[in-house]
């Protein structure tokens, strides 16, 4: 039996993110009081300390720049063992300084990239009702 890849288990504060992802739209949580964006979604705004009910999800460009990365040479998740080596990047989205999203870089370890390389978001339909956002190298 092939091991399954884990699917997200949405919760009260992440449901909106995964609902939008299933429609291939990247959204980021936005504080209704001060407009600060936060990812992953959180309970209290880091900037103004406003709590949950003020949050909305805002569609974003999905474009950003690689800040750091790793090449996964082994996986602790059985469903990914056949996929190694693969690249995970943390990219800073262009909408806000320090707003980082972690995702697989679909171009793989042979691609030419470095800190600062531009990326855009692509979606993988993982299961009925679930799409996972990944990054892909983009034109500068």
């Amino acid at each position: 039996m092939t091991a399954e890849k884990p699917l997200p288990l949405p919760d009260a504060i992440s449901q909106g993110f995964w609902d939008a992802a299933s429609r291939h739209v990247l959204v980021i949580q936005r504080c209704g009081h001060c407009g600060t964006l936060a990812h992953p979604p959180r309970v209290v705004c880091a900037n103004c300390l406003a709590p949950v009910p003020s949050w909305t999800f805002q569609p974003v460009s999905g474009r950003g720049r690689i800040r750091t990365w790793t090449v996964m040479r082994q996986s602790f998740l059985p469903g990914f063992k056949a996929d190694v080596p693969y690249v995970i990047v943390e990219a800073e989205l262009e909408e806000q300084k320090g707003l980082r999203v972690l995702a697989r870089l679909v171009d793989g370890p042979q691609a030419a990239f470095k800190a600062g390389s531009p990326v855009e978001t692509v979606f993988e339909d993982a299961a009925e009702g679930f799409a996972i956002p990944h990054f892909k190298l983009a034109e500068a």
Binding site: P8, A46, T70, F76, L77, L102
Partner: protein
């Protein structure tokens, strides 16, 4: 300065042999080690009236750990030893060694207990450490596991890669640290790596786990146990071995959710831990003979050097390049030179060296030490002194 400074001392210890997989359950190894520590302090078990530890990890297969088999709590030890405790504490955070020591020292200083046994038991679980067969990822893991991103080595890899890119540190820089740790570990009889040092060439050729983290940047999971006996400075005078005093302590905590592995956050929050340590102990960096750093993943060494002010932000690898002799930072062998004993090696080294019990490894004229554990912005550090300051 903390009112409890040098009011509490370590008066005895025991460390077990370490094993990839011991032939007995970790609970049995730990009970035997605790009894030896009690005897080492010249006590009978009935005199122990306080217990504390931090018992998190191991994790494997998504199973719930079983007390006495996978983990060992203080309550379990008290039950097995059939001791009625006046005080039982448990530390819940990540820097279990400083966390437990701080609880123990304050329990003794406040009079909640006269003799506190602090133990730590680490076990290597069946199956692969950190492997997880989850099919749904909730909480923090929903942002990682569906991408194939899982396990501390990969998390460390992201921030270490960022450090290397931003500041120009090389794998050779880290190789020198790891080789130094293994050199000292190879001289420690209970170490998993006893008589087994590492060359720089072997480090650079090692199997990569998650670039730039190789297998030797990660401590090897083992079975092992340690126990220390704490009591008041007044009572400590009447014990067979020279006391080593708790001179100060500090702990870190995240100022952002889920930011344990963020380089930016570490560099922002870590210096607060260093600041609190100097304030608590009344010591200055120049007063410290043995600043024993934590190395459970090798890059954490860099964060501690920054936190304690040995170098500026992003300069740890440059600072280490300038040091002719790295002994004072790494003589414990650390986790990379002993096996996964978490914060135990730096603490044990402080105790052995400052009490004059390090045998052929004894370093001359050492009076003060630091024992670091976990990340500076997530774990903690304890200052020890061979004299009452």
């Amino acid at each position: 300065m903390a009112r409890s400074r040098c009011e509490v001392a370590i008066v005895g210890y025991a460390q077990s042999q370490t094993y990839r997989h011991a032939s007995v359950p970790i609970g049995a190894l730990t009970v035997e080690t605790c009894l030896r520590a009690i005897a080492d302090a010249g006590l009978k078990k009935e005199q122990i009236d306080g217990f504390t530890t931090g018992s998190i990890l191991p994790s494997a297969g998504g199973r719930t750990p079983v007390d006495g088999i996978d983990i060992v709590t203080s309550n379990w030890i008290a039950e097995q030893l059939r001791i009625h405790a006046r005080w039982l504490g448990g530390f819940q955070g990540a820097g279990q060694i400083p966390g437990s020591v701080i609880l123990a020292a304050n329990a003794v200083a406040s009079g909640a207990a006269d003799y506190v046994l602090v133990h730590r038991a680490l076990s290597n679980p069946q199956g692969r450490y950190h492997e997880n067969p989850m099919t749904r990822a909730g909480g923090a893991s929903q942002w990682m596991a569906p991408q194939g991103f899982w396990g501390p080595p990969a998390m460390m890899a992201l921030s270490y890669m960022e450090y290397m890119q931003r500041y120009g540190a090389t794998r050779e820089d880290m190789g020198r640290v790891v080789v130094e740790l293994r050199k000292h570990g190879a001289r420690i009889p209970w170490s998993y790596w006893y008589r087994n040092p590492l060359t720089l060439e072997a480090y650079l050729d090692a199997r990569m786990i998650a670039d730039p983290i190789c297998v030797f940047d990660c401590d090897i999971p083992i079975d092992g146990a340690v126990a220390f006996i704490f009591t008041s400075a007044e009572r400590a005078k009447d014990h067979p071995h020279k006391p080593v005093y708790v001179a100060g302590h500090a702990q870190g905590n995240l100022l952002e959710p889920e930011s344990m592995w963020s380089l930016d956050h570490a560099q922002q929050a870590a210096p607060l831990t260093g600041r609190d340590l100097w304030k608590s102990s009344g010591l200055r960096r120049e007063d410290i003979d043995l600043p024993e750093l934590y190395d459970g993943f090798s890059p954490i060494v860099y964060l501690w050097l920054e936190a304690l002010g040995y170098c500026g932000r992003g300069e740890a690898h440059l600072f280490l390049r300038e040091q002719k002799d790295l002994t004072r930072f790494f003589s414990s062998g650390g986790s990379l030179g002993n096996g996964r004993m978490h914060g135990v090696p730096p603490m044990l080294e402080c105790y052995l060296q400052l009490s004059g019990r390090a045998g052929e490894r004894q370093i001359a004229n050492v009076k003060t030490g630091l024992a670091c554990h976990s990340h500076p912005h997530y774990g903690g550090v304890v200052a020890y002194s061979s004299e009452r300051l």
